[in-house]
Amino acid sequence: MPAVQETVDQVRSLDVDQYKYGFFTEIESEKAPKGLTEDTVRFISAKKDEPEWMLEWRLEAFRRWQTMPEPNWARVSYPPIDYQELYYYSAPKRKEALSIDDIDPEILATYEKLGIPLRERDALLGIQSGGSKVAVDAVFDSVSVATTFKEELSKAGVIFMPISEAVREYPELVRQYLGSVVPVTDNYFATLNSAVFSDGSFVYVPKGVRCPMELSTYFRINERNTGQFERTLIIADEGAYVSYLEGCTAPQRDENQLHAAVVELVALADAEIKYSTVQNWYPGDKDGKGGIYNFVTKRGDCRGDRSKISWTQVETGSAITWKYPSCILRGDNSQGEFYSIAISNGYQQVDSGTKMIHLGKNTSSRIISKGIAAGHSDNTYRGLVTAHRKATGARNFTNCDSLLIGDKCGAHTVPYIESKNSSAQFEHEATTSKISEDQLFYCRQRGLDPEEATALIVNGFVKDVLQQLPMEFAVEAQKLIAVSLEGSVG
C-alpha cells in the first residue's frame, strides 16, 4: 500500500531544499598544500606534533592506500573523485586555545548557531531547560576547537580529548588500541583515513566507571574543497559504561566534499558502549548538485565477555552514504545492537547497514533498520550476520523495513546471513507485523488495529534509544521517528 499522507508530509519537511545548516563561516584558515603526497602526510603529522611512530603508521597506510583500488560494490554512483584536488588539512588560524575565551568568536558563533553550546556556563543553563549535561568535543574542519567539561570528567578518571592530544599525552593507550579494530589496511577509505586523519575524539573510561555524562562530538566541515578525515577511538575498560553522540553538518556548496571517517570502539569485559549518530551533512540541492560524500568505517569490538556495543544512527544528510557500523562479538555472551533510520530524498544515495560477526559463545545481536526513500533517491540496506564454527548459541534477530514515497526512488535490501554452526539461531524478517506476537496481542486486545499496534511497538522500541540523545539531537531525531511505518515493504 502507498505511504500515508502524514508520512509524505513529514519527509517533505525534511527535504533537501530546507537544509538549515548550510551557512558558511568567514574565517581565516591554514591549509595543507592541495593534493596528497607523502609530504601531505608529513605535514599533518608535524602540525600535530606527533611522535615518530605515529608518522610511520601514517606513512605505511599511505603507501598501502596507493596500491588499493577504490571499491565499487556498493549501490551508489558518483563521478570519480580526484584525490589530488582536495585539501587534506584545514585549521582555523589561531593558536591553540587554552581556555574557551581564546577561541575565535566566529567559531563560537558558528557552534551557537548550530545549537551546540561550547561554554560550560551556557551548557549548564541548558540543564534548567530540561536537557541533560553533555560534554562536547567540537571539531571544526581538521581540528578540535574545544572540549568541554574536561575537568569534571577527569575527576571520574574519564579521558575525553581530541585524538591529536591523546597521541601526545597517552601514547601507550593510543598505540595499543588504534587500528586494532579497523586495521590500517581494512578498506580503501579507512586506509586513506589512517594516512591523513587530522582529528577526532579519544575516550577512555577506566575500569568500573560509569561515565558521569554523555560525551559528544560535533563535526563541522566549513572550508571549501576540504576533506574531513576524523578518527574516533573509544575504549571502555572492564565494567565501564559510556554513551557517546556524534553530530555533523556542513555548508551548502555546489561541489561535493569528502568525509572519510573511522570510528573504533573497544569494549572489554562487562563494558558497554552506546554510540549514537545524527548524520546531517549537506545532502546536495534538489537537482543533486553538491553534498557530502560520506564514506565511513565504523566498527566496535566486544573484546571482553559480557560486553555490549549498541549503534544508533539517524541518517538524513549526505549526497552519498556508505556506512556499515559493525560489531565483532568476540567475547562470550557479548551483545551487539544496530538501530538505524535512514531517510533519503532528492538525489541522495544511501548504502548502509551493519555487520554482526559472531565469534564468541552465546553471543547475540539485534538489527532494526528502517529505510525511507523519497524523491529520486536510492536507499539500500546491506547487512551481514555471520556465526563462526565456535560461536555456539549465537542468536540474531534482524528486521529491516523500507518505505518508498513516490515512484522515482528505489529501496533495496541485501542481507547476507551465514551460519556455520548448528546451534546458531538466526531470524531475518522484513514484515512489520512480526515484531513480537505477544506485544501485538496485548495491544490488539486493547482495541488497537494491527498497524497502530505495530507502529506503537516499533516507535516505543526505537524511542527508548533515541530519548537518550541530548535535546538538540532529540528534537530532530524524534521528528524522524514520527514518520509512520505504514505501507512498509521489506
Partner: protein
C-alpha cells in the same frame, strides 16, 4: 574488491574453451547462439567467489577437473539407471548423457494439442520451433547456461497448443550412464500456449561416486491464462556435479508452480530466472534440499516483476546434516511499472550437523511504491521444546528428529499439486531420513 583482476584460466576453463573452439563459425541462428555463448564463456570463464551471484558456490575452485563430453549411452544401461518416479503414471522420456533415447521414450499416441520432439530431430528437420531456443535471457552472464547453450545438442521440446489441457504429466528422466566420468548437456524447451495446462516433471540420476557433470537447461514459455506445474527431483550420484538452469517467461494471468527437490550430487547449483511479463500472473517457486556428508547445494533465483499486479511466492527449505553447505540466494526485482506487486520470499534452514553451514541472501530491489514485498530467512537447529514434547510422549530421539524434519520439509513438498508426484517426493524424503537413521 579486486574483481577487475582477470584470473589465470584454470585447466577446466582451458579445456572448456578448447572444446568450444570446434564450433562452426556461423550458419543458422542456433549456431550463432552457440558461438556467442562460447565467446562469452571465453571472456568470463567460470565464476569465482568475487562474482556476486556465485559468492557461495565458487565454480572455479569446485570445478577443477575438466571431463570430456559424454558419448552415447548404452540403451540397456540407461534403462537400468532410470529408476526415479517410475511409479508415477506419466509420459516418460529418457534423456541419457544429454541425448534423448527413443527406444526408452514414450513419444507415440500424443494427446490432441500436444507435440513432443527432440532438439536433435528439430535441428535436423529445421523445425520452426527452434527459433524459440534462447528466447528467454537471464539478463546477466551465467556460466552454466553459456556452457549449456554452446554444448547441448539434444533435449526435449514440448509444445502445448492454446487451450489444450494435458492431464498426463510429462516426465523427462535425465540419466548419466557410462564407465568413466564425462559431461552431459541437455537443452529443453517447453511452450505452453494460451489457456493450456501442463504438468512437467524432470528427474536427474546417475552412478554413485563418479565425478560426472550434468548440465541441464530448460526454457519455459507460459502463455496468457496458461497453467504450468513443474516438478523436479535431483538425485544425482554422490560424486556428481549438477548444474541446472530454469528460465521462465510468464504471460498474463498465467499460473506457474515449480518445485525443486534436491537430494543428490556432490555439488549442485540450480539457477532459476523468471520474468513476469504479463499482468496479474501468479507464480510460486518452491524447493526443498536435503543434504548429508559433504554435499554442497545452491538454489539461486531471480524473479523479475516487470508489469503490475503479479504475485510471487517462494518457499525454500534446506536440511543440513554433517559437514554440508547450503546456499539460498533469492532476488525479487520490482520494476517501476510493476505497481500492486505482491512478492514474498522465505528461506528456512534446519541445521542438524554441527559443522554444516547455511548461507542465506534474500534480496529485494524495489522501484515501485505501491507494492507489498517481504522476505524472511531463518536458520537454526531443531527446536528443543518440540523434541521434548515428542520425547515426553515416548518417541525415541532419532525418531522424533525424523518426524520433525519430515514435517519441516513437508510444508514445502505440499505445494506440489499433482498427487502422484507429491507422494513420490514424500517417499524420497522418507527414504533419505531412513538412510540417515
Amino acid at each position: 574488491m579486486n574483481a577487475e583482476i582477470r584470473p589465470i584460466r584454470t585447466p577446466a576453463e582451458q579445456a572448456f574453451i578448447a572444446a568450444l573452439d570446434g564450433l562452426p563459425a556461423s550458419g543458422d541462428r542456433l549456431a550463432d547462439l552457440r558461438l556467442a555463448a562460447a565467446r562469452s564463456f571465453a571472456e568470463h570463464g567460470l565464476p569465482h567467489r568475487r562474482v556476486e551471484e556465485w559468492k557461495y558456490t565458487d565454480l572455479r575452485t569446485l570445478m577443477r577437473e575438466a571431463v570430456p563430453v559424454a558419448g552415447t549411452a548404452a540403451v540397456a544401461e540407461a534403462d537400468a539407471r532410470a529408476t526415479l518416479l517410475r511409479g508415477v503414471e506419466a509420459r516418460r522420456i529418457v534423456v541419457a548423457n544429454g541425448a534423448v533415447v527413443p527406444e526408452l521414450s514414450d513419444l507415440a499416441d500424443l494427446e490432441a494439442g500436444l507435440s513432443v520432439t527432440t532438439l536433435a530431430a528439430a535441428t535436423a528437420a529445421g523445425d520452426e520451433v527452434l527459433s524459440r531456443i534462447g528466447g528467454i535471457l537471464p539478463g546477466r552472464y551465467d556460466a552454466a547456461l553459456a556452457l549449456n547453450t554452446a554444448l547441448a545438442r539434444d533435449g526435449v521440446i514440448v509444445t502445448v497448443a492454446p487451450g489444450a489441457v494435458i492431464e498426463r504429466p510429462i516426465h523427462v528422466a535425465h540419466v548419466f550412464a557410462g564407465a568413466s566420468a564425462a559431461a552431459s548437456y541437455a537443452r529443453s524447451l517447453v511452450v505452453v500456449g494460451a489457456g493450456a495446462k501442463l504438468t512437467y516433471a524432470e528427474s536427474f540420476e546417475g552412478p554413485e561416486a563418479m565425478a560426472y557433470q550434468a548440465n541441464s537447461a530448460t526454457e519455459f514459455t507460459v502463455g496468457d491464462d496458461a497453467h504450468l506445474d513443474v516438478v523436479r527431483l535431483q538425485e544425482e550420484g554422490t560424486g556428481a556435479f549438477h548444474l541446472s538452469t530454469l528460465l521462465f517467461d510468464v504471460g498474463r494471468q498465467a499460473q506457474v508452480h515449480a518445485f525443486s527437490f534436491g537430494i543428490g550430487a556432490a555439488v549442485a547449483r540450480t539457477s532459476l530466472y523468471a520474468t513476469l511479463s504479463g499482468e496479474s500472473s501468479h507464480v510460486g517457486f518452491n524447493g526443498a534440499t536435503l543434504l548429508k556428508g559433504r554435499q554442497h547445494a545452491d538454489s539461486t533465483l531471480l524473479v523479475d516483476h516487470q508489469v503490475p499486479g503479479c504475485e510471487s511466492r517462494e518457499l525454500f527449505k534446506t536440511v543440513l546434516d554433517d559437514q554440508t553447505r547450503g546456499v539460498f540466494q533469492g532476488k525479487i526485482i520490482v520494476r517501476q511499472a510493476a505497481q500492486k506487486t505482491d512478492g514474498r520470499m522465505m528461506s528456512r534452514a534446519l541445521v542438524l550437523g554441527d559443522e554444516a553451514e547455511m548461507d542465506n541472501k534474500p534480496e529485494l530491489e524495489i522501484f515501485a511504491d505501491d507494492v507489498q514485498c517481504g522476505h524472511g530467512a531463518t536458520c537454526g537447529a531443531i527446536d528443543d521444546d518440540l523434541l521434548f514434547y515428542l520425547r515426553a510422549r515416548g518417541i525415541p530421539h532419532k525418531e522424533a528428529q525424523s518426524l520433525l524434519v519430515q514435517a519441516f520439509v513437508g510444508e514445502a513438498i505440499e505445494t506440489v499439486e499433482h498427487d502422484g508426484l507429491r507422494e513420490a517426493l514424500v517417499e524420497r524424503a522418507e527414504a533419505w531420513l531412513k538412510a540417515r537413521a
